[in-house]
């Protein structure tokens, strides 16, 4: 390969006015976008801010938008990108920029704190352990693969375009809810929070989140839709509604 052109977003502080700057660097065999960004940082932009850690797709730190697509920079091979035009690298757009490619994702950490934590049923055996079938484990393991890169949050139009951060928790936290709700040991009930505080109704299942997930979690079909169904049967089932009226429970 050879000299490759890049357009990288530069911005100083959340209030600063950002813009693209052009860079050129030599791309060699096997390089990923993160390597190129680091090389540019070393050669011609010493103060270019980029967040990264494991460089193996396991920690979910180096999320960005590469040629407009939400990607982990460490798992995007240069050889898979077109070379006839500059490679554009910019921060995730659903969150405020701190500097350059680094954005402030602290909102996600606040959201998670509000979700009802795991609460197991009493142990099954006298020695304090549980018995769980492998197939029940596997159903939830898909959700537990999440590396919290927040690319699904970035691409979700409810957050990205409509900025409903106060009313909607985003795909990452529907996956988190699903992992808890379908956990074979959990006894919590998060359906009313999902409906009222977390805004699951706003999702109109366009599946953008599923498409960008680097862990290939089938977010929409396996997490969000089943949760929506549970919410519907809990709150809109006519028999349940009637039951609640007679039992004095609060109607939804």
């Amino acid at each position: 390969m050879a000299a490759t052109r890049f357009r990288i977003w530069r911005q100083e502080g959340a209030e600063g006015e950002g813009g693209y700057r052009d860079y050129t660097t030599e791309v060699t065999e096997g390089m990923v976008v993160l390597d190129a960004v680091h090389q540019i940082q070393a050669e011609s932009a010493n103060d270019l801010a980029v967040r990264w850690n494991c460089k193996a797709g396991k920690c979910g730190s180096c999320s960005a938008e590469v040629n407009g697509n939400p990607r982990l920079m460490c798992m995007t091979r240069m050889s898979d990108l077109p070379t006839d035009r500059p490679v554009t690298v910019e921060p995730m757009r659903a969150f405020p920029v701190i500097r350059d490619l680094v954005c402030d994702v602290s909102w996600n950490y606040e959201v998670k704190k509000k979700i009802q934590p795991f609460e197991p049923r009493p142990p099954d055996a006298e020695d304090g352990t549980w018995r769980i079938a492998q197939e029940d484990v596997e159903r939830v393991q898909e959700f537990r693969k999440c590396i919290e890169c927040f690319l699904c949050q970035d691409v979700c139009h409810v957050l990205r375009d409509h900025h409903l951060h106060d009313e909607f928790v985003g795909p990452r936290f529907f996956v988190y809810n699903a992992a808890l709700e379908m956990h074979p040991l959990d006894t919590g009930d998060r359906l009313s929070a999902l409906k009222q505080d977390e805004g699951i109704g706003y999702c109109n299942i366009t599946k953008c989140c599923t498409k960008v997930c680097p862990e290939h979690i089938t977010i929409t079909d396996n997490a969000i839709i089943p949760l929506k169904e549970r919410v519907v049967s809990e709150f809109y089932d006519p028999l349940k509604k009637l039951f609640r009226v007679f039992s004095g429970g609060s109607a939804a």
């Binding site: 096997g30 494991c54 460089k55 193996a56 079938a133 492998q134 484990v137 693969k145 040991l185 959990d186």
Partner: protein, 602 residues
């Protein structure tokens, strides 16, 4: 430069498995707790751990118990471990694993629904609780999701660069914020170091940028002892191609599931190199090795599951003798199991999902069909802060260490899977004892003058307008450590390394990283240099003093084990004139019960 300090009973530095487990214990004890981490929460290096967590629960083979585990650990560590720590670890690991399950972790299961355990190098029985090949992620996420409901304050993307003392006792820390370059002063009655390792001192490593020996150096600078620094674990299987991914870990789980190592002639070379200590426990034939993989209790383990130090050295020998693969490694083959099982491709994808994706996406290679190319990569440091076995307190009052930055459990070589359990067992203990220490001992005084001096010193690279940049020194150090303090060592080269590190340290004192304080990676590297240089010097000097080959240290000029060195650890500490003092100290004595166990189990 007066700043309002953040105040806690216990300050935990690092938010990997050990730091999070310590913090949970601190807050459970009713003490206030702050956690400082260099990255975002949940991104620490624990997330990279793949294979599993060693705990003698005995679900797969009921012959396993803590007694077998402790003897495996001591043998793996070539009898240089602190025996008391090895015993505590083996006894308490099962409870720590089960507790994780009570907090929401979901391990793979046995047929009757209990936690499944897998084989790993140096463990006599299947012992590793695991979740496919992403056990570390499961563990860190479980601790994170549990910990955020415990009133712990998390200070993300802050780096600690100095510990503060009050009359010899630890009193707090100084940190800076990566994104904005602001300083913070912390006052605490006790401090737990949980900062991980030193891999970034080497050129080829599986470690991320965070692993710059921070905790080791913070402790050393504060006057604490380090031990066993000569023992750096080179994991036998890192990726070697393409160049940009060189060093990234390929889990031992591949070999646990039946993966075999081959040279360019297609020979399974490890069968020719079985060490005497493991002769009785190792398979005679490929056929017996496979029976072990599929759970035949009478079969012995294949030679690929010998300890990491040994396998790494054998790979180096193959490469040196011209039997390496095209990109300077050897072959690791899991695809071959198609000869043994019909649905091998699905099986591999299910058992090793992240390895499958890692090779598919980074190397364009399908491990269910093709052989991987692998070679040794700097992975783990057995050495670290010398701690009390029970409490994890260092030789500085109120300063604790747990996980990779502490030493004692692993001796000369760590067994795979003993790290995740180490984090939990000793993270929990460090947290409990640190909280108790904070309660028993009164308040500490924060020495404002020394805090101000620390901050001024940290600002110097920014203020020097002229001078060498930090990157060149870092690259030279990494090359030096890789070449002269690596897998095969010799006196003359170690001496050269010590001299060269001294010269690099002088250059580092005059380094310049001009620019502003907001996200200035050059400045961060300038501050990291001190840590990298201290741990590198410690590794080289300790390696020089240990004139023998044992565990992870292989000396070409002393290729055998020496009886004398089997009885000593190497202690590293700062002398009166700030020079590094290196000396032998006796290994902690073994209890009568343990001595008997070791004799019985061979």
């Amino acid at each position: 430069m007066e700043q309002t300090p953040y105040e806690y009973d216990v300050l935990v530095i690092g938010a990997g498995g050990a730091g999070l487990r310590a913090a949970i214990e601190v807050s459970a004890a009713g003490a206030s707790c702050g956690v400082i981490c260099k990255s975002l929460l949940g991104k620490a290096h624990t997330v990279m751990a793949e294979g599993g967590m060693a705990a003698a629960i005995g679900n797969v083979d009921e012959r396993d118990d803590w007694k077998v585990h402790v003897t495996d650990t001591l043998r793996g560590g070539q009898y240089l471990s602190n025996p008391k720590m090895a015993e505590i670890h083996a006894r308490e690991a099962p409870a720590r694993a089960l507790e994780l399950e009570a907090w929401g972790a979901l391990f793979d299961r046995t047929k009757d629904g209990r936690i499944l355990q897998r084989n790993f190098g140096g463990h006599r029985y299947p012992r590793l609780a695991h979740v496919g090949d992403r056990t570390g992620l499961e563990m860190i996420r479980t601790l994170q999701d549990h910990g955020i409901h415990h009133g712990i304050d998390f200070h993300m993307e802050y780096t600690v660069f100095r510990l503060l003392l009050d009359d010899g006792r630890v009193a707090g820390a100084l940190a800076y914020d990566r994104e904005r370059g602001r300083f913070r002063v912390y006052r605490a009655k006790a401090v737990v170091l949980a900062t991980g390792g030193i891999g970034r001192a080497f050129k080829i490593t599986s470690n991320s940028w965070e692993y710059t020996g921070d905790g080791h150096t913070l402790a050393y600078d504060a006057g604490a002892d380090l031990i066993d620094m000569e023992f750096v674990q080179f994991h036998p299987t890192g990726m070697v191609w393409p160049p940009s991914v060189r060093g990234i870990l390929v889990t031992e789980g591949v070999r646990g599931e039946g993966g075999i190592l081959l040279n360019s002639d297609g020979e399974r070379f490890l069968f020719d190199e079985i060490p005497a200590l493991y002769k009785d426990q190792t398979a005679d034939s490929a056929e017996e090795g496979w029976r072990y993989v599929v759970g035949d209790r009478d079969a012995r383990r294949p030679p690929e599951l010998l300890t990491r130090d040994h396998v790494a050295r054998c790979i180096v020998n193959q490469i040196k003798s011209g039997k390496g693969s095209p990109h300077g490694g050897v072959y690791l083959d899991i695809a071959w199991i198609k000869e043994k099982i019909s649905n091998s491709e699905d099986h591999i994808r299910k058992k090793l999902p992240s390895m499958y994706h890692q090779f598919k996406e980074l190397a364009g290679l399908d491990i269910t069909k093709e052989r991987m190319e692998v070679g040794p990569t700097t992975h783990y440091v057995m050495g670290g802060v010398r701690v009390d076995a029970e409490s994890q307190m260092s030789t500085v009052p109120g300063l604790y260490a747990a996980g990779e930055c502490a030493a004692g459990l692993h001796g000369a070589n760590r067994l795979g899977g003993n790290s995740l359990s180490d984090l939990l067992v000793f993270g929990q203990r460090a947290g409990a004892y640190a909280a108790a220490f904070a309660k028993e001992h009164g308040d500490v005084r924060l020495d404002q003058a020394s805090a101000d001096a620390g901050i001024r010193e940290a600002l110097q690279p920014l203020e020097r307008e002229r001078g060498e940049g930090p990157y060149q020194i870092q690259y030279e150090l990494q090359d030096l450590m890789q070449e002269k303090v690596g897998i095969v060592r010799v006196e003359s080269e170690l001496e050269q390394a010590v001299e060269e590190i001294d010269r690099l340290s002088e250059r580092a004192k005059a380094v310049s990283a001009p620019g502003n304080r907001e996200y200035n990676p050059g400045w961060h590297t300038a501050l990291d240099l001190h840590n990298l240089l201290v741990v590198s010097e410690a590794v080289a000097r300790a390696g020089l003093l240990r004139r023998e080959s044992r565990g992870a240290q292989f000396r070409d000029d002393y290729p055998q084990k020496e009886e004398h060195f089997g009885k000593v650890n190497i202690r590293v500490a700062r002398g009166a004139d700030k020079e590094m003092v290196v000396e032998e100290i006796p290994v902690e004595p073994m209890s009568d019960e343990l001595t008997r166990l070791v004799e019985e189990m061979g």
